[in-house]
Amino acid sequence: MLTILFDGLAYGMLLFVLAVGLSITLGLMNFINLAHGAFAMAGGYIAVVMMQRFGLSLFWGLPAAFVICAIVGAVLERTLYVRLYDKSHLEQVMFTIGLVFMSMAAVDYFMGASPQIVDVPKILDGNLELGFVSINKYRLFVIVFCALLTVVLQLGLSKTRFGSRLRAAVDDARVARGLGIDVTKIFALTFAFGSGLAGLGGALGAAIFSLDPQFPLKFMIYFLVVIAVGGTSTITGPFFASILLGVADVAGKYYTPEIGGHKIEIGGFVIYTIMVLVLIFRPQGLFGRAPGK
């Protein structure tokens, strides 16, 4: 039971780091970036390359994934994405899906189609036996790392000048512009940071899941679920949504209720059912604000 909660927590935390950038950029610019997963994939492959070609451990891979993905994100934002803000949601979807296809084929070309594995650093390998429960060290690391990251993010948003400007811009970009806040610049920085986080999440996750060129498509649905449930106006929304979905997903696969002697495997339904129910009763998401005046 505790282990399930623990696993779900690790999974949810990871989802959060992967999805939070998408959530903020969506809230900020009302821009649907389905290619977000491509950054996560890039982060994972950066860790793989560093490990396989240069023999560097994941501890080097994580910051490298963050920095490189952030830079790539910034460049793409300035050169390509900036031209799409005034286009319709549908065109944004088409454009970013196009990028996903390109990234998948490119990774396939350079890295091959078969799944890649990132080895966990030696000191995080194995389990921590606490008597009543055994805890995987790497997952513990993921939880602690992501929790710290969340705290830093939350502090950054609430305590810094940039954070308050960002919040103002997410709240109402037009008003923020009127107040002399350079929303374009804030967006570029946020986009780069969000892409970096996705890369970081990809590198972290690559040591748990395996990594293959299908990654952006496989996880796109998960990201969208997190955002739909968590809303786009805060980072606490996606955070709790990620944890909820992570735990629900893991628990749904662990427990198979029996009805009339038949095992009903609910694993495949749980998170989608939660999402649909949440959206039916709270169309703006579990933690989103009601669209008021």
Partner: protein, 397 residues
């Protein structure tokens, strides 16, 4: 200007266009085509690449002549979709006039093409998909890969012999996985063992943790695993992470999990894992040594896996049948020629069961070991000439 053309001119123009654009129906009598439909993109792309490489190697080694004719291979990407596969099969038959269709990475795709094989009387050589029922879908289907029951029964028997009483199974939730589960469970029960639970993980699921945790919590003597080629690395990563060894739970599987292609990526943690399968790149025979050397030479960074031998032997089967019919491409004659054919493959001696058109082969019990700095499935027991138990049981009734 269009309306100024006379009707005759228009018709002439259309006819001209039609002739110019229809693919050349050049049925050069001395060329025989085989259409290979494989997953070249998507999650099973590695299967497609392995088989493609094996086919190229086969033609490079054995030449492109069989039965006095030139053999031409056409490769198509199935994109993992059944209706596309069916359309490609149909087009290969009616447009390219192939003498056989082959490949088929996934069970539903092999089944989707079956009606075409029957209707057009063209052999369908299944080089990869492993659900037992496939060969029953058409009298023109011949298989050179393996069946899941065939590969699973020996490991279940081995487990019984080695003191395993209580087991949990975890398989991918689709045809082959369910075949493997059924065979394993039935064999264990027949041998007096106990099955604590049978878990099925969605095929496209990156997170195995909850299933593995459940398996661990049930405290069996052994956990049996099956996932298709390409998914093994992700599964084993999480298996290792769960630490089954500490609880004295044996982790056993079919060789799909410790796929040769990915084995090196899995790291030392899979050392000692016991699996049963029809092929290992480490198989000790002159045929296999030559095969592996040639394959790795032609495809650096790739190691041949069981998918590749399925493709290699598929070509051997087609060449053999053509030789037998002396180049006659009549589908019924080809299939008849294939029935009962026996040869020595890189995996060992194999034959085609004349009754079921399914492959009969040795299944080996192997252990992951490090050899020359690389990980291999090292064979230590051989179960000779295994027929598909599923169909054998049916025939016995």
């Amino acid at each position: 200007m269009f309306d100024r053309l006379t009707r005759r001119q228009t018709i002439a123009a259309f006819t001209l266009a039609a002739t110019a654009l229809t693919p050349l129906a050049a049925r050069a009598e001395d060329t025989v085509k085989i259409g290979v439909i494989l997953p070249m993109t998507g999650p099973s792309a590695s299967t497609g690449r392995e088989i493609e490489a094996a086919i190229k190697l086969f033609q490079a080694q054995k030449g492109d002549k069989a039965g006095g004719k030139k053999v031409e291979v056409i490769i198509k990407d199935d994109t993992g979709v059944a209706d596309i596969t069916k359309r490609l099969a149909q087009e290969l038959v009616v447009n390219d006039h192939v003498a056989a269709i082959a490949g088929f990475g996934l069970t539903p795709l092999a089944l989707a093409a079956a009606p075409i094989a029957t209707q057009a009387k063209v052999p369908e050589i299944v080089m990869a998909a492993g659900t037992a029922i496939i060969t029953e879908a058409s009298p023109y289907i011949v298989r050179t890969s393996f069946t899941l029951p065939q590969n699973t029964m020996p490991i279940a028997q081995w487990a019984l012999k080695n003191g395993v009483k209580k087991v949990v199974t975890l398989v991918s939730d689709y045809g082959p996985g369910i075949d493997a589960e059924k065979t394993f469970v039935e064999t264990i029960k027949a041998g007096g063992g106990q099955v604590l639970d049978s878990l099925r993980a969605p095929l496209k699921n990156p997170e195995f943790a909850p299933f593995l945790q459940k398996a661990k919590d049930l405290k069996p003597d052994a956990l049996f695993l099956f996932v298709p080629s390409g998914f093994g690395a992700a599964l084993m990563k999480q298996v290792v992470e769960r630490g089954f060894a500490a609880d004295n739970i044996k982790v056993i599987a079919t060789g799909d999990v410790t796929d040769d292609e990915q084995l090196n990526n899995m790291g030392d943690s899979v050392l000692g894992m016991i699996t049963s399968h029809n092929y290992s790149a480490d198989h000790d025979s002159p045929e296999n040594k030559a095969y592996v050397a040639a394959f790795e030479k032609a495809n650096p960074n790739m190691r041949p896996n069981f998918m590749s031998v399925g493709g290699y032997d598929g070509m051997a089967l087609f060449y053999g049948a053509l030789d037998k019919t002396k180049g006659d491409t009549d589908g019924t004659k080809l299939v008849d020629a294939m029935k009962g054919m026996a040869w020595t493959s890189p995996r060992g001696p194999i034959s085609i069961d004349p009754a079921t058109r399914d492959v009969v082969q040795n299944v080996y019990i192997r252990k992951v070991e490090r050899k020359n700095g690389q990980l291999y499935n090292v064979e230590f027991e051989t179960v000779p000439n295994v027929k598909d138990p599923f169909k054998a049981a049916k025939a016995g009734k």
